[in-house]
């Protein structure tokens, strides 16, 4: 039983962590090496990892997907510790529109132009910070979605994830508030109701016991002493 509970909790932690890791913005320091547009047919497995077509367009099964090809700096620990190596990373560049995730991104074409304007060559490295959400997975063919591209002077810029800091503070405050609300609701509404229900139950069972007692005494009066 303990192991089942532990497994369940661990699973819950993994799911919550995965959710936030997917949805919250992260910053990569990278060099754009090119951009491409490929026609894509989304499958049932990977379609949940894509946002939508450009928000003004109709949704068709086949669509063109904008990709940004980069060579990004490797990091440890969600980007907090930098490493001295680079690896290939491909971002998609899609509108998220009005719905999910709530980035309200409508400027995919402009972002693609920004990427094109900051392409690095072998002699001229131009570093950018790419804000993105999502995961890259080769087996499911999914890409992180680039949200913004900002040119920076070099690969050693310090990035402070302000949005995530405020988001988790807000989440903590909301959690405390919810707990206070629940405590107030229990104290003022549920407990008095349970009390009065308990009293009622006591009264009824006392009445039943009394009547049973009378019946038993009456039956007893027929028995031989």
């Amino acid at each position: 039983m303990r192991y089942i509970r532990m497994t369940f909790r661990l699973l819950l932690v993994v799911i919550v962590f995965g959710f936030f890791h997917y949805v919250l913005p992260q910053h990569d320091i990278a060099k754009v090496t090119g951009t491409s547009i490929i026609p894509t047919d989304l499958g049932g497995l990977n379609s949940i990892f894509y946002a939508q077509t450009d928000s003004g367009n109709a949704t068709l099964p086949t669509r063109s997907l904008r990709l940004i090809n980069t060579s990004k700096q490797n990091t440890f620990l969600l980007g907090f510790i930098k490493r001295d190596s680079e690896s290939i990373m491909v971002y998609r560049n899609e509108d998220t529109g009005w719905i999910w995730p709530p980035y309200f991104k409508f400027d995919s074409s402009d972002l693609q132009a920004t990427a094109d304007a900051n392409v690095s060559t072998a002699d001229n490295a131009r570093w950018v910070v790419i804000t993105h959400y999502g995961w890259r997975n080769r087996f499911f063919t999914i890409y992180p979605n680039a949200i913004g591209i900002r040119p920076v002077s070099g690969p050693d810029v310090r990035i402070i994830p302000w949005f995530n800091i405020f988001f988790f503070i807000f989440l903590g405050v909301a959690w405390l508030f919810l707990r206070a609300m629940w405590a107030q609701f229990r104290e003022r509404s549920v407990d008095p109701m349970l009390d009065s229900a308990g009293n009622k139950y006591d009264e009824v069972s006392a009445g039943v016991a009394e009547r049973q007692g009378r019946l038993r005494r009456w039956l007893g009066s027929w028995q031989k002493k």
Binding site: G97, W98, I99, F104, K105, A180, M181, Q184, F185
Partner: protein
């Protein structure tokens, strides 16, 4: 259309939050009034006096600023969306 969907569901979601917070706030206010009366009841106090004291306090709360501040539940997310929209799409 996606925008209408966001508007309708956002409105429903925020209304649920608004109602819960206003119920909570009223409950806290009432409890505070009750405790204030019980801690220091005036001479010759009866249950009726307590009820009127609480009713007056609640009426004051209903016309006060604090209750109106709960409407920020609708205002703040709208502003946040506007800011995110601007930051994401501005060049």
């Amino acid at each position: 259309m996606a925008f209408i969907k966001l508007f309708v569901f956002g409105f429903i979601f925020l209304s649920v939050i608004y109602l819960s917070i206003s119920v909570y706030s009223r409950s806290v206010r009432r409890e505070k009034l009750e405790k204030r009366w019980d801690a220091n009841p005036p001479e010759a106090a009866d249950a009726e006096g307590r009820d009127t004291y609480i009713a007056e306090g609640m009426a004051e709360y209903h016309s006060g600023l604090r209750r109106k501040l709960i409407a920020l539940v609708y205002v703040v997310p709208t502003l946040v969306i506007a800011v995110i929209l601007y930051i994401t799409n501005a060049n």
